[in-house]
Amino acid sequence: MKKTLTVNLGGTVFHIDEDAYQLLEKYLSNLRIHFSKEEGVDEVMGDFELRISEILNERVRLGYTVITIEHVEAVIRQMGKVEDIFGEESAHTEATSHETTAQPGRERVNKRFFRNPDDRMLGGVCGGLAAYMGWDPTPIRLLLFLLLFFYGITIPIYLVLWLVVPLAQTATEKLQMRGESVTVENIGKTVTDGFEKMSANVKDYVNSDKPRTAFQKVADAFVEVIGVLLKVAAVLLGIVLFPMLLVLLFVFIVVILALIIGSVGGGFGLLYHLMPSAEWQFLHHYPEWLWAIFSICSILVIALPVIAILYTVCSHIFKFKPFPPALRGALILLWFIALAANIYLLSRYGGTFWDWSHHTWNHTWWSTAFW
């Protein structure tokens, strides 16, 4: 006995098995992700739905009152797997970009580092790395956990990887993550795999191919406990940090405002006007162009990571497209240049400023807002 659902596909109502529905849903959403780069996504998807509805209608007329998973599989075969439809376009670019790295005797595989959505504790970074290297994820997790005791090195590394490395979403990306070649058979396997994984326990699936030794089981359990503890800690930290974040946001806005005014140059009069109680005297110790450079660099150093974090959070919630890699690289480079420039400026000119600001420490606390 199976549960069925009622769906409206291209204006026709179908009774469809739950598993068949999930497969069809996955297929359509995968298509939509791929088409999202093109204009007229909705129209193309509408065409697909109409055609699928027509094919399924034929089955209904043949006497099948319920659409089963076999019907949906037949439909996908007829319409083509997502990668069949897009394969030709991507095959060309991959072939040209990997011409030089080709090794004779080995099938060329386009391997990429993705975060693994099917094997994750927090962000799927370790799972992705394990899939990429072909290792077991547990030792990697243990290593990262141990590194936590060396000045917490793990935290920045993990956060940066979480932000920079994309999540493997489509079947192609999951195959590339594991370094398997993107062939029709593999895609088919992945699409059905992913579908099975939705209902089955992930851990069972991941470890199904070989039995785990007792030691590995202990390590797995240990990592599992640590993962849960880390999650709890992160939530608690979030609750504690939230008011502080609000204060920080306010300070951040004030600083950015002041920096923008500073970068425009000559706007110092405005600063006096905005905050008369503040001590703005120190601004005149340096030429305006220096302030302009310093301000622009500071804005970049502060704002770029903030924007990046905001964008990443938003892209998870609203399904934005991630930045193209070239743009991301350029922004990271820009950030480092700005940081370097600021460090240089501070070490070159900061000393005198420091003395001066110490001198006026008791005058007002506002001047310390810049420190």
Binding site: G10, G11, T12, L31, F35, E38, E39, G40, E43, V44, D47, F48, L50, R51, S53, E54, N57, E58, R61, R77, Q78, M79, G80, K81, V82, D84, I85, E88, E89, A91, H92, A95, A102, Q103, P104, G105, R106, E107, R108
Partner: protein, 127 residues
């Protein structure tokens, strides 16, 4: 012995690469001519997507239906094709695609350049 095995692997690898390259060129050729073929098919009469697909599959130009939908929408968006909804007795209404005026001009240009291309290839092949 080791050397022989090794050589064999290199040979095998080279074969795979060659096959891959040939497949790639073939698929590029198919892709290049696909739009031209669609316009040719629609020149005589308006047709339903399934009919177009069937003809293209007979000619082994496409394998799966899905390839065609984005292509037709792209051609429609560049105003080379237009469509109208036609009622169907067997289900939802169907889109019938037809060549527009602009599409006809475009097709004539393509015909000319196709002629050029075949002439060039014949010329090179025969000399």
């Amino acid at each position: 012995m080791y050397c022989m095995v090794h050589l064999q692997y290199i040979y095998l690898g080279q074969n795979i690469i060659n096959m891959y390259a040939a497949e790639n060129v073939k698929s590029q050729m198919r892709k290049g001519t696909l739009e031209y073929c669609i316009l040719l098919l629609l020149k005589k009469e308006a047709a339903y997507t399934s009919d177009i697909i069937q003809k293209l599959q007979e000619a082994k130009l496409i394998v799966v239906e899905g390839t065609l939908y984005p292509l037709l929408t792209r051609l429609k968006n560049s105003e080379l094709l237009g469509y109208q909804w036609v009622e169907s007795t067997q289900g939802p209404p169907r889109k019938y695609y037809k060549l527009t005026q602009k599409g006809e001009f475009f097709l004539n240009e393509l015909e000319a350049s196709w002629q050029d291309l075949t002439n060039t290839i014949n010329h090179i092949r025969n000399n």
